[in-house]
């Protein structure tokens, strides 16, 4: 390098190098001297990550302490969605993992495409995985990229599928794609202490009491390395378990109610519509004979009259809430939710919409007695065909000016106490018409029926309750606006409408729980309506177990949490005055006597005669109740009729203790189906020692999840036997 150009170039080189070092020294000086001193503690803080510790969910007990819902520590295998976005990679991974996770590659693929899982979170592949599998996966982490394990609790329904509808189930919070952005939803949830991945109660008690059951999350703060792997624990706040809840259900009764309901429906499917011959040998029904009853669905409720506590609540078709906890195959999910007719997920006892037919009559009778339109000794001559007086209303011109008794029967001279046992439509058509026309259109019938709880939510502590409907002018208009009825029909409320309400037909909408509650109110001589309750108490966590599956409620004071005094929500003010008359009439519904004796050739047996003929506790535990048969559609297909029964019972000499109702869809006469279910329930209440025991369920076979057809029955159905003959 002897020339100037070389020297110049060398200096350029040198300057570049010196510049680099000036930059490095400058930066080093800035970082180590000029920048503020960060304490090691502050740096440690920056290097932490917080892992939420899910709280143990509160347990659910039946009134005897049986642990209906429990928790199991569980391991969930998840996979990072980014790792399996390529379908070839995904199918390869699923192929290799499926057997180890006791599932199939197809089902894993279904999970991947399903919208049940949060798209922003790792996809859960298998829940309730055993430790060995987790260890096996950890050892082979390199072979299964993105696969990791989450620890938490899973809900464990020890006696499932019993009371599945009441308990509900838990599931991951599902992101609502129709609403706000996921981030906003996550923020809102965070305010309530939730993350999108959290598990919440989705139906039933689990949903209703989410706030009590949830508890409070804890957290662990870990110091993390650059790959966000925990290095050491910095801080730990333990989660606070949720509160336990004692239900009012008695699981033995619940089991029995579910069995007897199902058994009756199955039995009913083997029976066909047939000729009805009245006491005088006349064939009294019309329509097709020999058609099998579909008997697709039904429900039954048993309530404590004094407290409003629900002891049993059955709905069929039912499901197993364990299906929904561990992740459910798509096919089963569709069976549960997709089928509009069967809809096994629906708790019909509280969400069902039913016409209740003649089970409405005692309440119409009360309205008549209260308003003075009828007196206890008022006699109506039932000629079999009711002629609407002053037949001018718009709808009457369509439907005609006469109404026949169901089955074309004719009952002669009847007091209200006789009209109820034979279930004279004539009597109640007349009363219904008068309750509208002779009260200046003040909706007296509606008002009184609402005092019994019809047409409004009972306020039971369960979600998704059907408020029902007692039609009036406003609700008819609303229905017409919705297109349920024609504009013309919705234009006004007529005497004919009131006649339909009086016999529980037309636009009436009642849930089985409402029907039960109305009979419970009818059973009380003080006329008070109490709010039905499915829970007895909320308990702090920590109630010990006495034996497997049963918690020790004997040493827990249930009264400290919720007062035991029943909550009166309404009063039927003049019921005390007419109580004895109505109760006697309802007892007579089940009696073996004949009514309508004037003239004698028109006498008829009570509608419940055959159903209750073999009831063994007539003297010690008498039942009062009413049958009902509600026509659906145009009423021409009697096999599609809704079978209903409501009633109450208790030991002789005491006020009635329990009310019960059953409504069976497409099962024909109330006396032939629903009445038997209620009778059987009261048989067990008369002698609870005969109730079969309940056992904890064996492990669920996840490979055979199927909403229907359900397995064959083994139930004791002896109490369902009856000698057929009577109608309605």
């Amino acid at each position: 390098m002897r020339n100037d150009s070389g020297a110049l170039r060398l200096s350029v080189f040198g300057v570049v190098i010196v510049c680099m070092f000036v930059a490095m020294f400058g930066r080093l000086w800035f970082l180590q001297v000029a920048s503020p001193t960060t304490s090691e503690a502050a740096v440690r803080q920056l290097r932490t990550t917080t892992v939420l510790l899910p709280p143990m969910r509160g347990r659910l007990y039946d009134r005897e302490g049986r642990i209906l819902a429990d928790n199991k520590r569980s391991l969930t295998v998840t996979v990072d969605r980014a790792q399996i976005s390529k379908s070839s990679v995904r199918s390869d991974l699923f192929q290799r993992l499926a057997a180890r996770l006791s599932t199939t590659p197809e089902d894993l693929e279904l999970r991947f495409t399903s919208d049940q899982f949060d798209p922003l979170l790792p996809l859960p592949l298998a829940e309730g995985v055993d430790e060995q599998t987790v260890v096996w996966l950890k050892e082979r982490q390199e072979d299964y990229p993105g696969v990791s394990t989450e620890e938490g609790f899973t809900r464990y329904y020890r006696y499932a599928p019993l009371a599945s509808h009441v308990l509900g189930y838990t599931g991951r919070i599902s992101a609502d794609s129709t609403k706000k952005s996921l981030n906003e939803q996550a923020k809102e949830l965070a305010k309530q202490g939730y993350r999108l991945s959290d598990t919440v109660g989705k139906e039933g008690i689990e949903r209703q009491f989410e706030a009590e059951l949830r508890g409070k999350s804890g957290y662990v703060k870990y110091e993390v390395d650059a790959a966000n792997k925990p290095v050491r624990e910095v801080e730990r706040v333990e989660p606070i378990p949720g509160n336990d809840i004692v239900l009012s259900l008695d699981l033995k009764l619940q089991q029995y109610a579910e069995q007897i309901l199902r058994a009756e429906l199955f039995k009913r499917r083997t029976e066909v519509t047939r000729e009805l011959v009245d006491i005088n040998g006349n064939v009294s029904n019309t329509g097709d004979i020999g058609i099998a009853y579909p008997a697709t669905a039904g429900s039954a409720v048993l309530e404590d009259v004094a407290t409003g506590e629900i002891l049993a609540m059955a709905s069929y078709p039912s499901y197993d809430n364990r299906w929904l906890v561990g992740g459910i195959p798509d096919k089963t999910y569709k069976q549960l939710y997709g089928d509009q007719t069967l809809a096994p997920i629906v708790n019909r006892a509280i969400s069902g919409h039913y016409l209740i037919g003649s089970t409405m009559k005692p309440f119409t009778a009360y309205a008549g007695l209260k308003t003075g339109l009828i007196a206890p000794d008022t006699i109506v001559n039932d000629t079999g065909i009711y002629h609407i007086p002053d037949c001018t209303d718009a709808d009457e011109r369509v439907a005609g000016c006469t109404r026949k008794n169901a089955g074309g029967a004719r009952y002669g001279h009847l007091t209200v106490a006789e009209a109820l046992p034979v279930s004279s439509d004539f009597f109640f058509y007349d009363l219904g018409w008068r309750l509208y026309k002779e009260t200046q259109g003040t909706n007296v019938l509606q008002t009184e029926l609402r005092h019994f709880g019809f047409g409004e939510r009972t306020g039971i502590d369960l979600p998704s309750e059907n408020p029902g409907r007692i039609p009036d002018k406003a609700s008819k208009k609303a229905l017409a606006d919705l297109g349920v009825i024609s504009k013309q029909a919705g234009s006004d409320y007529f005497g004919g409408d009131n006649m339909q309400v009086a016999i529980g037909q037309g636009l009436v909408d009642v849930s089985p729980l409402q029907l039960t509650g109305a009979y419970a109110t009818m059973a009380r001589d003080d006329g008070q309506r109490v709010r039905p309750l499915i829970t007895r108490a909320v308990l702090p966590p920590g109630t010990p177990d006495v034996t497997s599956g049963v918690a020790d409620l004997d040493h827990v004071d249930l009264t400290t949490i919720r007062p035991t005094t029943p909550q009166v929500v309404d009063t039927v003010d003049q019921l005390p005055q007419f109580h004895d008359l109505l109760v006697t009439a309802l007892r007579n519904v089940l009696s073996q006597k004949a009514f309508g004796l004037d003239p004698p050739y028109l006498q008829h047996f009570a509608t419940g005669k055959d159903a209750f003929a073999n009831y063994p506790y007539k003297d010690t535990y008498p039942i009062a109740g009413k049958t009902g048969t509600a026509q659906t559609g145009d009423g021409s297909k009697s096999e599609l009729d809704t079978s209903a029964f409501g009633g109450f019972a208790g030991p002789t000499g005491e006020p009635p203790k329990f009310a019960a109702a059953a409504i069976l869809e497409k099962s024909g006469y109330g006396s032939e189906a629903a009445a038997l279910v209620v009778k059987c329930l009261f048989e067990k209440m008369a002698d609870p020692t005969t109730l079969p025991d309940v056992n904890q369920s064996p492990q669920l076979d996840r490979s055979k999840l199927n909403a229907y057809p359900l397995p064959p029955l083994n139930d004791d159905v002896s109490c369902l036997e009856y000698k057929p003959g009577q109608k309605d």
Partner: protein, 387 residues
């Protein structure tokens, strides 16, 4: 002309020409060895806490590094023995050999951290791109040297770029942007001293820049490469670059925590933990910064600066243009390596996977740099032979 490669007899001599080993640059040699020794101390300090805790041998990496150092010293002395001019005359053999090794990677190489850059030899891994750097220094020096003192002709300028393109293309295919950048730095350094015309250098720089922009904007880069660039410019954390941002954040924190005198050997909160990936190799400087503070990290930089000034001195003192170019290539290689690596640990350069010369754990790099210093010593030792 009959020549012995061990004792060249041609040309005039000012001093005792038969004993070039008397003219070793001892300053350079001692500082080189000091840096390498310091590297092993630093590696031990990083691994001590975690390996002891895990029940392992804290000296494991240091032992492996010592083997590499021994091999590297043998390579260095071998290269010092042989006259650099003879070596330069055979440069194409080294160059072709290194290219073959790079090609072979695509057949049998081992993929790690997104790049196919390693051969497995027993329990050791050979990274041929490290040796490609040395081969490129020698090859370009041989091609561009011209003792007539004239400007580098355009044909040879273009020829040099074609030579660069061979290893550069191969390492970019791995893909390894960091090593690619060092090859470019070496070429720039040599072309500068080789009297390439300024306008040629500017032209080719502009073309390189345009190519780089085109490559980035047309999405030719792997996601992780783009992440490194993007997260350097925009420090916002996203799902894909989170670890990377974290790595640099921790690295800066670690250096900052060292303050003036450091947290103490084997004491650093960050660098003895598992916070920073590649702590013992690519991110060794953050451990130096945390454990030894400004004194240690600044001192290390001063040692590098000393070595670089020493190399520039050799550029000036070299007997011939060839020697000057070898020293210039070595200086460019070292300067870029240090700047990129140290800069990345302090957050002023994008993250690439190139090691801190002589200090980072990694045998291939250590051996390659010792080979480079062997070549430079060679030039220094034989500076008195007339060209």
């Amino acid at each position: 002309m009959a020549t012995s490669i061990f004792a060249p007899t041609y040309g005039e001599t000012r001093e005792d020409v038969s004993t070039p080993f008397r003219h070793i640059d001892w300053g350079l040699m001692l500082v080189t060895l000091a840096i390498a020794g310091f590297g092993m101390v630093a590696i031990y300090g990083v691994k001590f806490a975690t390996t002891v805790k895990a029940g392992g041998d804290p000296g494991y990496l240091v032992k492996r590094q010592a083997i590499a150092l021994a091999v590297g010293l043998m390579v260095m002395f071998t290269l010092m023995l042989i006259d650099y001019r003879w070596l330069a005359s055979k440069a194409w053999i080294f160059f072709a050999g290194s290219a073959v090794l790079l090609v072979g990677l695509f057949v049998t190489g081992k993929t790690k951290f997104g790049a196919t850059a390693w051969y497995r030899i027993g329990s050791f891994q050979l990274q041929p791109s490290e040796f490609a750097k040395v081969a490129l220094v020698l090859m370009l020096a041989a091609v561009c040297s011209d003792d007539r003192g004239e400007a580098l002709p355009f044909e040879r300028f273009v020829g040099a770029l074609f030579l660069l393109a061979i290893p550069l293309g191969l390492v970019l295919l791995q893909p390894d942007l960091g090593t690619g950048s060092t090859l470019v730095a070496v070429t720039m350094g040599i072309l500068l001293i080789a009297r390439a015309r300024a306008r040629h250098i500017l032209l080719i720089s502009a073309m390189a820049l345009i190519t780089a922009v085109a490559v980035v904007s047309t999405g030719q880069l792997q996601t992780y490469q783009l992440n490194r660039l993007v997260s350097f410019i925009d420090q916002k954390e996203t799902a894909t670059n989170k670890d990377l941002i974290q790595q640099v954040k921790y690295s800066k924190q670690a250096i900052s925590l060292g303050r003036t005198t450091g947290a103490g050997y084997k004491q650093g909160l960050t660098t003895t933990g598992k916070y920073i990936p590649f702590q013992e190799n690519d991110f060794i400087f953050s451990a130096v910064g945390e454990q030894f503070g400004l004194v240690g990290a600044g001192g290390l930089l001063l040692l590098y600066l000393f070595v670089l000034l020493r190399l520039l001195r050799i550029v000036q003192m070299a007997r011939d243009h060839l020697g000057a170019l070898i020293a210039a290539g070595a200086a460019a290689l070292l300067a870029w390596h240090v700047f990129e690596n140290v800069g990345m640990t302090m957050g002023i350069m994008p993250v690439t996977g190139i090691p801190l010369p002589l200090v980072s754990y990694g045998g291939s790099s250590l051996i390659a740099f010792l080979a480079v210093f062997g070549l430079v010593q060679n030039v220094h030792m034989r500076r008195y032979h007339a060209g």
